[in-house]
């Protein structure tokens, strides 16, 4: 079987198209690369959707945590502590069992026990909490002069937030936020290793990499392939966030524009 046929058979296996049975014996590098690549569809799906939805929630959380009102501040603080203070792995397990129990009481929850929604909810809350903390930090370090200048120009309320506070917050938070999104994509690999089951052997990249490592008992092929995919993905994210960074900083004088450097904190 040529490699091209393998690609045709397995390229979309992770979402249920193409050949039904996974390869059983005589594994080729082509099969491994194709299937692991196919699994990346899930990682990208989880990462992209959680990132975009989590972004909105993170802004709300950051504002909540910086708010004067006790009733806004405390819930945001607790939400952030809950999701930043416990391991994602345990959160996945717990959420799966929680959804199972909820499902019996309230039928609306039945799709939540499937990874595509249940795990997404956990990842969404997780990235919202981590990014919320980053945004909160940025919010506190907005130069006071900026806000005063906005007041002087007669900006207030929503307009001030939309035109001054929010863009400045994003600009300050951007390097750390880039870092966070890379880690979010890495975290998506945990989905099928925790409570959430894989239907019809439709799993993410790590699920297939692990499948091959177990079958061939040779970790030196599938895991480096997986690593290659993820390094590629990280580079794409860095490129994309770099473009955004340029846009956020476009009003600054040339020498003050900060090049996006995601060197400092490699951990969230």
């Amino acid at each position: 079987m040529s490699c091209w046929e393998t690609v045709a058979d397995y390229a979309f296996r992770s979402i249920g198209f193409g050949e039904r049975l996974l390869p059983r014996s005589d594994f080729t590098i082509c099969q491994q690369a194709t299937l692991i690549g196919s699994g990346m569809i899930w990682n990208v799906y989880f990462g992209v959707v959680a990132l975009f939805s989590g972004f909105v929630m993170a802004t709300v959380l950051a504002l909540g945590k910086a708010s004067q009102s006790f009733w806004l501040r405390k819930p945001s603080e607790w939400f952030i502590f809950l999701f930043r203070g416990s391991p994602l792995f345990i959160q996945f397990f717990f959420a799966y069992f929680l959804f199972l129990n909820l499902k019996q009481a309230v039928p609306i929850f039945s799709p939540f026990t499937a990874a595509w929604l249940g795990a997404l909810v956990v990842l969404f809350c997780n990235t919202a909490a981590y990014s919320g903390e980053i945004f909160y930090g940025a919010l506190l370090s907005i130069p006071r002069g900026d806000i005063e200048a906005a007041d002087a120009y007669g900006f207030s309320g929503m307009t001030r937030f939309r035109k001054i506070t929010w863009p400045t917050m994003l600009r300050l938070a951007w390097p750390a936020y880039t870092n966070e999104s890379i880690f979010l994509f890495h975290a998506t690999t945990l989905v099928f290793f925790s409570g959430f089951p894989a239907y019809q052997q439709k799993g993410d990249a790590l699920y297939y990499a692990n499948y091959f490592a177990d079958k061939t008992f040779n970790p030196f092929v599938p895991y480096p392939i997986l690593a290659g995919y993820f390094i590629m993905l990280s580079l794409i994210i860095i490129g994309f966030f770099g473009l955004m960074n340029k846009r956020l900083n476009r009003h600054l004088p040339q020498e003050e524009r900060r090049k996006l450097r995601i060197r400092p904190n490699m951990i969230r």
Binding site: R84, S86, I90, F94, F97, N101, L206, A209, I267
Partner: protein, 294 residues
């Protein structure tokens, strides 16, 4: 454990629970918390040592050597850590056995990889096939610690590398002016001063390390996740004196609370250490402390 536990079926709720929570199985569960703590206690200094080594190599003036250090940092950063955990445990085991095989059985001339089997001579097996159980367990635990240390060492290396660069240049230049050699400058000036700059990153790393401990489960160590899943699963009256339904949610809730408490305590302790370290330092934090005291 208690004398009234002989026939749990007739016990009241409280007594039933007291018996249930003190079965041998539950003690294994409690013991596994110690496993996690021991792992942390061993891994943290080991990872720090790896990190220190990695950072020193990355700072090297010789290009190729510094690339090794930087490459180590960059690769671990670019790849999901769970992939490393799954990879290293098999890879390290095979690497050790392969190395022993080359030394112990040089006359062996068959291929090491035969289809799906990885075959080394029996004397090179790690641990030896007839070793007692505790050696096997310790070896498995050792592999897990090493894997954790390699992954978190790279993170620590990055933090320490950054901290070394944060030490004011003037300090190093002054040392040079006093006639200190490069080595002396490194050990006497750079290293003592960098810890303050490294601490925020390292305490962050400690938090991440705590949160990575459930991954032990994936390395085949019988840790808290393993026991929570085993204990929480439905128990049939045929095979146990304490039948119950699906309690996995409750057990995992307990784990969640354990981790939240653990991170909270760490946060408080690390905050105190930071306060003490910044005291009198020429940094923004130290300045703030001085002003507050005045």
């Amino acid at each position: 454990m208690f004398s009234y536990c002989i026939d749990p079926e007739v016990l009241g709720q409280f007594r039933w629970l007291s018996c249930y929570l003190t079965t041998g199985k539950h003690f294994a569960f409690y013991g596994s918390f110690a496993t996690v703590l021991i792992l942390l206690a061993i891994t943290a200094p080991t990872a720090l040592a790896f990190g220190f080594g990695g950072a020193s190599i990355a700072r090297s003036r010789i290009g190729p050597i510094s690339w090794i250090g930087k490459g180590y940092i960059a690769i671990v950063r670019g790849v999901p850590d769970i992939a490393f955990f799954l990879f290293f445990v098999i890879a390290l085991d095979q690497a050790f056995e392969f190395a022993r095989h080359k030394v112990i059985c040089p006359e062996w001339n068959e291929p090491i990889r035969q289809g799906s089997d990885f075959i080394v001579c029996k004397a090179a097996k790690l641990p030896l096939g007839n070793a007692p159980q505790w050696i096997h367990e310790t070896y498995g635990f050792f592999l897990a610690v090493l894997t954790f240390a390699i992954v978190f060492g790279a993170f620590a290396a990055n933090v320490i590398f950054g901290a070394m660069r944060a030490v004011p240049k003037a300090q190093l230049e002054t040392a040079e002016a006093y006639g200190m050699s490069r080595r002396q400058t490194f050990w006497r000036i750079l290293v003592p001063q960098m810890w303050v700059f490294a601490l925020p990153g390292l305490s962050n790393l400690w938090m991440v390390l705590i949160k990575a401990t459930p991954l032990l489960f994936l390395l085949g160590v019988e840790d808290i996740v393993y026991w929570a899943r085993e204990l929480g699963s439905t128990k049939n009256a045929k095979f146990t004196s304490y039948p119950h339904g699906d309690w996995r949610m409750q057990y995992f809730f307990f784990l969640l609370v354990f981790y939240l408490a653990f991170t909270k305590v760490s946060e408080v302790v690390l905050d105190r250490i930071m306060k003490r370290l910044t005291h009198g330092q020429a940094t923004a934090g130290g300045e703030a402390q001085r002003k507050a005291a005045v």
